[in-house]
């Protein structure tokens, strides 16, 4: 076991992780950024199409209207302090990025192109790189990070656990997948920015790396996870062909949706907004049509965008082109679409500085909870990442600066980590391969913890996840040579199981339907708003409810 030191350790390198690193490094402290894939290329930021923001284009728009939209969309679960931080900082953070080289897309009049997105009361979505906005932001942040003498990056390193001394997080225990060398990284603060949990479900828009590692690491360090039942299903994702299953179609507000009877069913659910409604409502409507037997053969509904095809081609060229290459030309064809796991609104509880209740532990981006409440507005994911990435980076650097010395790591921590790694890297010939365990978790979550939930389904999911935990002791790992996908899968499966249990437990104690959590046995809203809270103590999960320091919405 090798020991390494850094002032600030950032785990994850999407828009949130890289923002954290860039802003933390402004303090001249040493920042180490890890990614289990490739730095800046392995998170869901990559696929983000637009970013909601205030800026020079905001003639009628202002902070209060943005705040009001986030609050309404959050269904009463968004924390005021987080919403205010987002609306307050977004303009300055995007300005920083443009000063560092990000070029926002412009319309034919050379003005910054601003478009409307469902759920926002005013047009405030801007883009870069012709709708490859996430990529554009990542390129800018990577360039900035590479130019800093204080930032070191490290590819292909997975975090197995966080290390604590007393109540303080003092580092992380990681494995370099390239040579299977384990390291204990000692640091003054850790920023978790590992993205979301889409891979807990069979169909997802998320990259393969979104295996919920950060939620699991947060739990293991003793942090609270809030509202983990609030999983956003992107309502309009490709169902077929299989090679692009889960791919998001952003232009649903330019489209008409039909069930298998040929009926434009949104007329029944949202007579005024129709398809141009929020993601939670649209996903529940589509899932209800399918559940009631009015879906397509592959379990979706039909999307028709032919009437607005010119606008689609202009605003969403990547989506149009990719589907066209797979045989779906929206000018002439209807596409089979359905909900896919897309975004975790819940997450590790943070304050407006990105700090958790655990000293030394900060969280940013999708891994943090409490901002988006019960429904994240479209294009607010990148906004969240750049604002709270910066805040977590700045606050963690300040805390690190105030520490007189590096917090201690003792021999017993090294010994525990050593034993754990030996167990992980020892070949075993059991009954089930790690990828099969991951598939089992996905099947359970897809069947019972998807868009539409029931008390009985949640109970079954809990029992079945316990069975997966038993099976996990009987894994087959034959390949323990460096860069073993089986080793990676086995570590990810452990993170996935812990997070899946947190989602199911949180869903069980929310005795109402709110936001993305739709339980047909509790179909209405409760009279009061509350967060569900998951916590882990000595490996045992416990669940409770807590009050919301929220805005006006119910």
């Amino acid at each position: 076991m090798e020991l390494r030191q850094t002032d600030i350790l950032v785990i994850g390198s999407g828009a949130a992780g890289l923002s954290s690193a860039v802003y933390a490094a402004q303090s001249n402290q040493h920042v180490l950024v890890l990614d289990k894939g490739v730095i800046g290329r392995s998170g869901s930021s990559t696929g983000a199409v637009q970013i909601a923001a205030l800026g020079e284009w905001s003639n009628e728009d202002h902070k209060d209207s943005y705040l009001k939209d986030i609050d309404e969309s959050g269904r009463g679960l968004s924390e005021s302090s987080l919403m205010e931080a987002l609306a307050e900082d977004i303009s300055d953070r995007l300005k920083d990025l443009t000063e560092w080289g990000l070029k926002l897309d412009r319309n034919k009049d050379k003005q910054i192109a601003v478009s409307h997105t469902s759920g926002h009361s005013l047009p405030r979505s801007v883009s870069a790189k012709k709708g490859k906005t996430g990529l554009g932001i990542l390129h800018t942040l990577r360039k900035k990070a590479n130019a800093s003498d204080h930032i070191e990056t490290w590819n292909d390193v997975i975090t197995i656990d966080l290390i604590k001394n007393g109540n303080r997080v003092v580092g992380a225990f990681v494995l370099d997948l390239k040579d299977h060398q384990p390291y204990l990284i000692q640091c003054k603060s850790v920023i978790l920015a590992t993205g979301g949990a889409g891979q807990l479900y069979p169909t997802t828009s998320n990259p393969v790396q979104s295996t919920s590692d950060g939620f699991s690491l947060g739990l293991s360090a003793g942090a609270n996870l809030v509202d983990m039942e609030q999983v956003q299903f992107y309502p309009v994702s490709m169902v077929a062909p299989n090679s692009i299953a889960g791919f998001c179609i952003s232009f649903y507000h330019y489209s008409k949706l039909y069930n298998s009877n040929g009926s434009r069913f949104m007329e029944n659910y949202e007579p005024k907004q129709l398809e141009d409604t929020t993601r939670d409502k649209l996903a529940i409507a589509i899932a209800t049509e399918v559940a009631d037997g009015r879906g397509t053969e592959n379990g979706g509904v039909w999307l028709d965008a032919a009437d607005e095809i010119d606008q689609v081609k202009k605003e969403f060229p990547h989506e149009y082109k990719l589907c066209h290459e797979r045989g779906i030309d929206f000018a002439n064809n209807r596409a089979e679409i359905g909900p896919a796991a897309h975004f975790m609104m819940g997450g590790v509880q943070i304050n407006e500085h990105g700090a958790t209740e655990i000293p030394g532990l900060y969280v940013a981006g999708e891994t943090a909870g409490g901002l988006h409440g019960g429904n994240r507005l479209g294009n607010n994911a990148l906004s969240d990442c750049i604002v709270f990435g910066a805040r977590a980076g700045i606050s963690s650097a300040k805390e690190a600066d105030e520490l007189s010395s590096m917090p201690e790591v003792n021999d017993s921590m090294l010994l525990t980590a050593q034993q754990q790694i030996e167990q992980i890297l020892t070949p075993i010939n059991g009954e089930i391969r790690p990828y099969q365990l991951k598939e089992q978790i996905q099947t359970i979550m897809g069947q019972h913890v998807g868009v539409i939930r029931t008390n009985q389904g949640l109970k079954i999911a809990k029992e079945q996840l316990d069975e997966v935990e038993t099976q996990m002791r009987d894994m087959t790992i034959l390949n323990t040579e460096p860069y073993s996908r089986e080793i990676l899968d086995s570590i990810e499966a452990r993170h996935m199981l812990r997070t899946a249990k947190a989602i199911v437990g949180s869903a069980i104690i929310r005795k109402e339907s709110r936001g993305a959590h739709h339980n047909t046995d509790h179909p209405s809203l409760a009279s009061s708003t509350y967060h569900t809270v998951a916590n882990s103590h000595n490996g045992e999960l416990s669940f409770s409810i807590a009050s919301v320091q929220g805005g006006e919405s119910k």
């Binding site: 894939g37 490739v38 290329r41 696929g47 393969v208 790396q209 692009i244 990547h318 797979r326 860069y483």
Partner: protein, 98 residues
Amino acid sequence: MKLHVQIQRSSGKTDHFEVSYGPEMTVLNILEEIYRHHDATIAYRYSCRTGLCTTCLMMINGKPELSCQKIVETDDEGILTLAPLPKGETIKDLVKEM
């Protein structure tokens, strides 16, 4: 339907696999099939599956292509040939240092 896949491994040898496939499968789908059902030691990178992150770039039938985007095609002899990109350090099999 069976597909003959030939992969240049980092051990220096070339491995051959007979993989079940359907007409709409991408090269990445084929690699997933090989990892699951033929050889658990095969190493390859990918992330977004939508042609954006470019981490799945490799030589496919002699040309650099994204494995997540490339629908399976064989050469004149009916073989799909995969190899790592020629430039830069290879970590293992099809995985490059990035």
